[in-house]
């Protein structure tokens, strides 16, 4: 009986389950042959650059062990940079170099590593240690994002990122992912990071989710996570919406960061975005996806398509949180201010 009631309640709230996500969205909208575009961060970056979409600047690529000789010239002009596997998953194998120290390198956590150690790490990445399925991989060396100061109070180490799920280029739900001590500075919910819902309409944060529970404070900093206004929200939305043209995939999670100098940048795309974003937003994905699908069907009948600007406008109009209820945002802003 409990099962049936819960089932009914979830269905009424339009909550999406894994089976539905896979059957109705991932399998339906994402063509398999396009996956490499999102699985390989280098490919994603190249596509994004070609489309004029902002991404962290790529310093260089290392494809073979021999290419490691070019490492010095790649990072010659940069004090800080990020080394990551092109096909890594879950943030594994990423080294963030924050500074140089006596001919050695210093990571964000303050650990000093030598050039040889970096060489070994790069060789591990190339051999496929961190890639999906253990395939040979490439190494990407890129600009180190420095998170905007706005996140200082609600994140622990690492770089918070913003995940926006888009269906056919229409943003349907967004979440701010904050690293915690438990997640080891990674913004991955599975590893213990917090997901905080974001109002699509105005970019104001809502309550958060941590290990499937609804929370309102960051466990490490104990600052409230809701009521934070993300700057340049429309920029985020436009970037996310334009990823549809870039990747060709209909149902994606777009991971963006807010750099304090360069503003919103696209980090990577995900063809199977997780479902915990629903808990963070206290809303169901199915309900919103259906709304987009209805809209698309109507457009098709009228024989027209919408560009990124129009899509963002649609999403902001229909999925803004303060449409369905009075946001707690006002009160908590006052509190935190």
């Amino acid at each position: 009986m409990f099962f049936w009631k819960t089932w009914k309640a979830l269905a009424d709230n339009g909550v999406m389950g894994i089976n539905r996500r896979n059957a109705d969205y991932v399998l339906k909208y994402n063509k398999r042959h396009l996956y490499p575009v999102v699985d390989d961060k280098i490919l994603t970056k190249e596509r994004a650059i070609a489309a004029g979409i902002h991404v962290p600047e790529m310093y260089g690529i290392i494809e073979t062990e021999k290419d490691f000789d070019t490492f010095d010239s790649i990072v010659a002009n940069h004090n800080d940079f990020v080394i990551k596997p092109a096909q890594g998953a879950g943030g594994d194998g990423i080294i963030v170099i924050a500074d140089r120290f006596e001919g050695m390198f210093k990571t964000v956590s303050g650990k000093i590593i030598s050039r040889d150690e970096i060489g070994h790490h790069i060789s591990s990445i190339l051999s496929g240690l961190y890639s999906l399925g253990g395939h040979r991989d490439r190494v990407l060396i890129e600009y180190r994002v420095s998170p905007d100061q706005i996140f200082k109070s609600i994140s622990y180490e690492g770089v918070p990122d913003i995940r926006i799920i888009c269906l056919m280029g229409y943003p349907v739900m967004a979440m701010l992912r904050l690293p915690t001590r438990q997640s080891g500075g990674k913004a991955n919910l599975h590893q213990g990071a917090i997901g905080v819902g974001v109002d699509l309409g105005c970019g104001m944060t809502l309550k958060g989710t941590w290990l499937n529970k609804i929370i309102s404070k960051h466990p490490d900093t104990t600052n409230p996570v809701d009521g934070v206004q993300l700057p340049d929200w429309d920029g985020f939305m436009r970037l996310a919406a334009s990823c549809y043209e870039l990747s060709g995939l209909g149902y994606i999670g777009v991971d963006l960061v807010l750099d304090q100098d360069q503003g919103p940048l696209i980090l990577e795309l995900n063809a199977r975005p997780g479902l915990n974003i629903q808990i963070a937003n206290d809303a169901g994905l199915t309900a919103r996806c259906h709304a987009v699908e209805h809209h698309l069907a109507r457009l098709k009948k009228e024989g027209r398509t919408e560009n990124a600007e129009e899509r963002v406008a649609f999403s902001q109009k229909h999925f803004a949180k303060n449409l369905d209820r009075t946001p707690p945002a006002d009160n908590s802003t006052a509190e935190s201010a």
Binding site: F3, K5, T6, W7, K8, A9, L10, A11, D12, N13, V15, G17, I18, N19, R20, A23, D24, K28, G90, D92, H120, S124, S127, G128, L129, G134, H190, Q191, G192, T209, N212, K213, I214, L275, Q278, I279, D282, G284
Partner: protein, 508 residues
């Protein structure tokens, strides 16, 4: 999308109905038993015909053999006779074999064997109702005696059934003078039957003599005589001496009429020995025999047509889809986490060798040891392939060590561990350790426990003998399974664990 959905629905409908139809055909039309331990009785009727040949004359032995249109079906029928021509002809619902030879000398022995079984026969052909009969003419005192008997019988009876019963009762009362006269000194069942026939003919009631044999394990039985009459709707059977009505089920009609079983020309001292032996046979093998007899070769093309060795392998193989179904249900309906997709099925197969308890214990032990090695290797920063190779070799060594120790300790059970699929173990260890690092100990433990539960469930299901038999005999049920799997491919409801995961969103 719409057309794909329709396509899928049609495909599922076709597969499921095909599966049901084929299985139904096998069960209801080929009569293949649904469980393995159904056995059936098989009766061997042996007749040994002996007689002394008169020298210089042609020999001809005519011998009644059971008609085949009864509730029994013949599996095999053979006539063994040296230097004799054999011909079988039927007349009046009887079958009669004629052995003939130009000449012979000394004791002649002829054999007849019929192997019968009760099941798998079509509806028996009903014996045709007899023609209306005329009274057998009698003379003088016999007519008087007959009338003297018939009148009270008629008064004491209401219909054909009671008339016959009453007649039999009176004829068996041999103190009665009228009966004595008609019996003319004889007291054998045959004589009584003749008198009963006589009396009934005067009442214009049809009567047939039926010679039957008991299907019991007996040496040398002689045919038992029964009488049957037709009441306009069905045949009524009576015992000529006891008056018992209705023939027991284990009687097989050998022949009808008043002719003797054996008629020999050109011979004397003829003798017939009838032996009935019973054996049991697995119902399926029997079905196969009867099918062969009926020249339908569908079973020939079933898995039973394979050599025995191969059948064993396929009995394991054909159960794998059942194991896969367990995984499918556990993962997509319940939402249990397992390591790898089909790893639990492979582990379940390994459990066949070790038995479930030992299997779980050894699996846990080896995985735990392998995990500790793996976490040590993690510090050495090895590449994937060399690392996997080290773990695999380690697993082999651990298995060898376990076998050695358990052998020394006298636990032969643990020796079976050598058949544990080492590569599967290695991959399990690798996956487990990756999950451990990425998702933490809790998650990996959950996945490991999930894998064990799935493997155990799959193993238990796959090793039910009845189920194995059923799937092996009716492989078409796998089509129904495929239908279900296809439907699952478009299942979009929640997994049971998601009801807990999204509890926070349950505002209903």
């Amino acid at each position: 999308m719409q057309s794909i959905n329709l396509h899928l629905k049609i495909l599922i409908a076709v597969l499921v109905s095909l599966g049901i139809l084929i299985t139904g055909y096998q069960i209801y039309f080929l009569d293949i038993p649904v469980t393995e331990d159904e056995t059936d009785d098989i009766w061997s009727l042996d007749a040994k015909v002996e007689f002394r040949a008169s020298p210089g004359t042609p020999l001809k032995a005519q011998f009644y053999i059971p008609p085949l249109n009864q509730e029994y079906v013949s599996l095999n029928e053979s006539f063994i006779s040296n230097n004799y021509g054999v011909s079988v002809n039927s007349q009046n619902g009887n079958r009669r074999v004629t052995w003939s030879s130009r000449r012979g000398s000394g004791t002649q022995t002829l054999y007849y064997r019929l192997v019968l079984t009760k099941r798998y026969s079509e509806e028996p052909a009903k014996a045709a109702p007899p023609a209306p009969r005329q009274p057998i003419p009698l003379e003088g005192p016999e007519q008087v005696a007959a009338d003297a008997l018939i009148n009270p019988i008629r008064q004491h009876s209401a219909d054909i059934e009671t008339f016959i019963s009453e007649t039999i009762r009176r004829v068996n009362d041999i103190t009665d003078d009228n009966v004595k006269l008609l019996l003319n000194g004889g007291t054998s069942p045959m004589d009584k039957a003749r008198v009963i026939d006589l009396l009934l003919s005067n009442a214009r009631i049809p009567l047939e003599m039926v010679h039957t044999i008991r299907l019991e394990n007996t040496d040398a039985q002689s045919p038992e005589l029964w009488l049957r009459s037709y009441n306009g709707e069905r045949w009524l059977y009576f015992h000529p001496e006891t008056g018992q009505q209705g023939m027991p089920d284990n009687r097989l009609v050998w022949w009808t009429g008043s002719q003797p079983l054996l008629a020999v020309e050109g011979g004397r001292q003829s003798n017939v020995t009838l032996t009935v032996t019973n054996s049991e046979m697995n119902a399926l093998r029997l079905a196969k025999l009867t099918t062969e007899n009926r020249a339908s070769a569908l079973l020939e093309y079933s898995l039973y047509g394979l050599p025995l060795q191969a059948q064993r392998v396929y009995q394991v193989m054909i159960m794998i889809p059942i194991g896969v179904l367990v995984i499918l249900v556990l993962r997509n309906l319940i939402g249990m986490q397992t390591l790898g997709t089909f790893t639990p099925v492979l582990i379940a197969l390994a459990f066949r060798e070790t038995e479930i308890g030992w299997g779980i214990a050894l699996f846990t032990l080896i995985t735990a040891l392998g995990l500790s090695l793996r976490s040590y290797l993690e510090h050495l920063k090895l590449q994937m392939l060399p690392r996997l190779s080290v773990v695999l070799t380690f697993v082999v060594l651990v298995i060898a060590a376990i076998s050695l120790f358990s052998h020394k300790l006298g636990m032969e059970k643990a020796l079976a561990v050598s058949l544990f699929p080492m590569v599967i173990l290695t991959m399990t260890i690798e996956r487990l350790s990756i999950t451990w690092e990425e998702r933490g100990a809790g998650q990996s433990l959950k996945a490991a426990v999930g894998t064990m539960i799935a493997a155990t469930l799959a193993h238990l299901l796959m090793s039910i003998p009845e189920l194995t038999y059923f799937v092996f005999t009716f492989p078409a049920v796998l089509l129904i399974l495929v239908g279900f799997m296809l439907a699952m491919g478009r299942y979009r409801g929640y997994r049971l664990t998601e009801l807990v995961r999204f509890k926070a969103l349950n505002k209903g």
